[in-house]
């Protein structure tokens, strides 16, 4: 590297050319880097604006991506605070990616456990009208870290409940003790019966009652067999009843014949009654005549009594 001053200079034309090449290379590198960075920053993209309103923009940074289905479709250009204390996140969305945003799109701001914040867009109905340039939307905030205190409180409550459940004098422990007693009784000589009735004497009584019931059922079974024979046997009730019904049918036939005869008699009686009615009409004349004769006899007796010397004095004599 050590060089003599200009007196010992190598061929200048060649060096100047090489130096010019190096300069051109540096210029190209810097210009290329600038163009690439401008391209990476979206300087050559036609974009539209989307304004998201959120109460707390913590974690949102300029340059952050807005993703749709995991693909970045926009980047945060500016974050500002409005007069009413709401954060305005201004996002540039390139026109070619803006087709994923619709009027019905929903925007969320999620914060992970490690502080990684993500802005996401969801478009359920892609047939809706496209989102207009400069549209303002509210952001739904899903904060995983905000859930932690509540989760911890719930966990603490759960642990205390578990502690209470698993304590020596807890209900669960007593219940488990009772279950153990029950299982021991189940394993005992009387098994589940002894467990249900609680003592040996009652269990014995129940077994005895069951034995008796079995014997009774055997007897009832015999009785039923006999009743069956008496009811449905050759000389049973049912065949006899059938014969009685046949006889009853015959009796009914006789009765029907008798009734027909009675009808004839009644017809005769009707004729006789007509005759009697005629006779009754003659009787009225006869009675009038009898009455007349009786009145004459009465007058005659009165005349006799008046003329008779031993007639009674009907007059009353006063003192």
């Amino acid at each position: 590297m050590k060089e003599e001053p200009s007196s010992a200079s190598p061929p200048a034309a060649n060096l100047e050319f090489k130096a010019a090449l190096l300069l051109a290379l540096l210029f190209l590198l810097i210009a290329g880097a600038v163009v690439y960075l401008l391209y990476a920053r979206g300087a050559f993209e036609e974009s539209q604006q989307l304004v998201l309103m959120v109460d707390d923009s913590d974690g949102v940074a300029v340059g952050m991506n807005l993703t749709f289905s995991g693909f970045p479709i926009g980047r945060v250009r500016r974050i500002e605070l409005t007069e009413d204390g709401v954060a305005r996140i201004i996002i540039d969305v390139p026109h070619e990616d803006a087709r994923w945003l619709r009027e019905s799109s929903v925007f969320t701001l999620t914060r992970g456990l490690l502080g990684n914040t993500a802005l996401k867009a969801y478009s359920g109905i892609l047939s809706d009208p496209p989102l207009a340039d400069g549209a303002v939307r509210k952001v739904l905030v899903g904060d995983a870290t905000a859930e932690i205190p509540r989760l911890v409180a719930d966990m603490r409550e759960l642990v205390s409940n578990l502690k209470a459940l698993s304590a020596e004098d807890s209900s669960l422990s007593a219940s488990l003790g009772n279950v153990r007693d029950l299982t021991e009784k189940l394993k005992g000589p009387r098994g589940a019966l002894g467990m249900l009735l609680g003592n040996e004497a009652d269990a014995k009584k129940l077994v005895t009652a069951l034995d008796r019931t079995n014997a009774l059922l055997a007897r009832v079974d015999g009785l039923a067999a006999k009743a069956d024979a008496q009811a449905f046997g050759p000389a049973g009730l049912v065949p006899e009843a059938r014969a009685a019904i046949v006889q009853l049918n015959a009796a009914l036939t006789d009765a029907r014949t008798s009734l027909k005869k009675v009808d004839g008699i009644l017809a005769d009686a009707q004729v006789a009654a007509g005759n009697a009615r005629d006779a009754t009409a003659d009787l009225a004349t006869l009675r009038a005549e009898v009455d007349t004769s009786l009145r004459k006899v009465g007058r005659m007796i009165d005349e006799v009594n008046r003329r008779w010397p031993f007639a009674r004095d009907p007059k009353l004599k006063l003192p």
């Binding site: 190598p10 200048a12 060096l15 130096a19 010019a20 540096l26 690439y36 970045p72």
Partner: protein, 283 residues
């Protein structure tokens, strides 16, 4: 200007400042050394202003000056360019691998690329390029100037009517600065390509996502800080060693050579620029 420059850049500061600083008297040693230190910085700043004026003057690029500039630019950059690309590629590959494997093991692979870009392209590559140029080009250039002064060639040029500052110093300063920018630019591009290939493999499918991440890292403020940092790295590497050999004198009590003083000043300047860029980027 041609006749006055050597007198302005050497003698007045040496006589005035050093007569003040060498006087034994009321100033204690600590105060004197501090004053010497700040005086050295002031000389460097003044020298930088002179060089800037010369660099902006069209006459500096005419005739023999242009040949000298071209020679120094080429000889200061080309020999170390290939080596630096190889070295920075190896270091970058190792660091990319470490970052990617660590990120994947923690389930944070989506941040691996951003971290690689920030750590390597933004911070390490420009600093490494500056240190590499300082050791490979700027310090030998300063040694050349010191040798010329020791041999009297520097003053002889001035006596011949040739401005040594324009003819000998400016090309070396410009070549060192160019070298820093060139090495940083080339190795940043190489590292960016290596990062892409290491993470995604030989496919173009991830180029859109890669570009987007690159764009997110290089926002306007970060880009400006990166450009300024590279510029000031180059300035520090180009100016401080040459200015030190022109103006500093060996400190007898501390037994510190001019080259060592320039190296300390250089690393301090690089550190300050790096800290300032970190503060600008992350605070």
């Amino acid at each position: 200007m041609r006749g006055r420059v050597p007198a302005r850049c050497g003698a007045p500061y040496d006589s005035g400042m050093n007569s003040l600083l060498s006087s034994r008297g009321p100033l204690p040693d600590l105060g004197r050394s501090t004053l010497t230190w700040f005086a050295g910085w002031w000389r460097i700043i003044h020298f930088g202003a002179l060089i800037l004026v010369l660099a902006l003057s069209p006459s500096s690029y005419a005739g023999p000056n242009r040949s000298a500039l071209a020679r120094h630019v080429y000889l200061g950059t080309a020999p170390i360019l290939l080596w630096f690309i190889v070295l920075s590629s190896l270091i970058s590959l190792v660091i990319i691998r470490i970052v990617v494997v660590t990120a994947v093991s923690y389930g944070l692979s989506q941040y691996a690329l951003e971290m690689v870009v920030r750590v390597l392209v933004l911070e390490l590559i420009p600093l490494t390029a500056a240190v590499f140029v300082a050791l490979g080009c700027a310090l030998p250039n300063a040694e050349d100037i010191a040798g010329m002064r020791t041999r009297g060639e520097y003053d002889a040029l001035a006596q011949q009517g040739v401005d040594p500052l324009r003819h000998e110093v400016l090309p070396r300063v410009a070549s060192a600065m160019f070298s820093v920018l060139m090495l940083a630019a080339v190795s940043c591009v190489v590292t960016a390509v290596l990062a892409y290939v290491s993470i995604y493999g030989f496919t173009l499918g991830a180029f859109a996502g890669y570009t987007r991440t690159f764009g997110q890292v290089f926002n306007p403020a970060v880009s400006m800080i990166f450009a300024l940092k590279s510029f000031f790295f180059g300035l520090a590497v180009a100016l401080i060693p040459v200015a030190s050999v022109l103006y500093d004198r060996p400190r007898g009590r501390m037994r510190m050579s001019v080259e060592l003083q320039s190296l300390i000043r250089l690393f301090l300047a690089l550190l300050l620029v790096e800290v300032a860029s970190l503060v600008g980027n992350y605070y």
